[in-house]
Amino acid sequence: MERISAFMDGELEDHDAAAQVRRLKEDPELRAAWETYHLVGDAMRGEAGYPSGLAARISAKLAAEPTVLAPSPRMHSRNVRRVALSAAASIGGVALVAWLALFDNPFVPQQNLAVNQAPMGTQTQLAATPANGSVNDYLLAHQQFSPSTAMQGVASYVRTVSGQNPEQR
């Protein structure tokens, strides 16, 4: 059960995580734990909602659905970690901007502005908030030098505290 807790936080090694998914498939008690642990998190954030039969109904419907099979994903699960652009790819700075411009949604959550294939075939992924202790310090340190702070005062710091780990909410 402790593994499930670590797994849902994304804190297991890949091979371990794969094992957990299998265990979850086989053991109803573990699945219940997964569901309850997520409820705990939601409740802490004020999103308790109420237990409806929704998940069960969807489960039933899914059983009737033809199984989906996608061709091998472009990114292997190993590569979910972000990969740095090679120095050669950095010359393609202009090409990068052009690539981003292909996403035509006017108001797009920035997660969507991912570069799936940088030039030279390396991969970079725009991930969600870093939530890294050092980076938080950097963000705070940066804000004092931002001209937006000159124009808005401390209100501009809302950038550094807004939407951290947006997927949690």
Partner: protein, 199 residues
């Protein structure tokens, strides 16, 4: 962040034919999607119908999800489209904006109002769940409470929590688990009586 990697792993398994992996994602995001939809659809029963439809559509669309964005971002879009189509099909006016401005933000219902739309039983259940969680949190030993707060509210990684709490990562992992188990334990009696069946 770790969260996204979990979703990615589950999506990839689902794409390879493992429906259970998709069910885990449903389990994780059902409430969040429900909240989103209830901003456009008042009737809780209809919200459930539309949520169900959105999840099924997402399942069918899985082959086209390539991980360019986070899974929930993608699901959120499907949810919005499903809600919009539903409203149009019902002959109701779908909310439109051509440009976001501050007034729009104020028109959105505060999450608290959601409770008024529930059945009395559901509303009571929500309150009881929230109260139980809060109560248990208060009774937790301080280091367990801090660990789970940093994880669930602040969204910090185990490593960052370890730095802040000045303890090994293994301890962080164990504290978070113990906090979750303690709260889950208190919730189980509540949940058992409300659910007819487990999945």
């Amino acid at each position: 962040m770790g969260d996204r990697e979990v979703d990615q792993q589950l999506v990839e398994r689902a794409q390879r034919g493992d429906k259970h992996a998709f069910e885990l994602l449903v389990s994780k995001y059902q409430r969040k999607l429900g909240r989103l939809l209830s901003r456009f659809i008042r009737d809780p029963a209809e919200v459930e119908d539309v949520a169900q439809e959105a999840f099924i559509k997402a399942y069918r669309a899985l082959p086209s999800f390539r991980g360019d964005s986070a899974f929930y971002t993608w699901l959120y879009r499907i949810g919005i489209n499903t809600a919009k189509n539903y409203l149009v099909a019902m002959g109701r006016r779908a909310p439109t904006t051509t440009e976001f401005d501050s007034e729009e933000a104020e028109n959105f219902e505060d999450g608290d109002q959601l409770r008024d739309l529930n059945t009395p039983e559901a509303e009571l259940m929500t309150r009881q769940i929230a109260a139980t969680v809060n109560q248990t949190m208060e009774e937790l030993p301080e280091e367990l409470r801090t660990a789970i707060t940093l994880r669930e509210i602040e969204g910090m990684s185990y490593e960052d929590i370890a730095n802040v709490m000045n303890c090994p990562i293994g301890t962080v992992r164990s504290r978070i688990f113990r906090a979750r188990e303690t709260i889950a334990d208190r919730l189980r009696p509540l949940l058992d009586t409300s659910k007819d069946k487990r999945w």
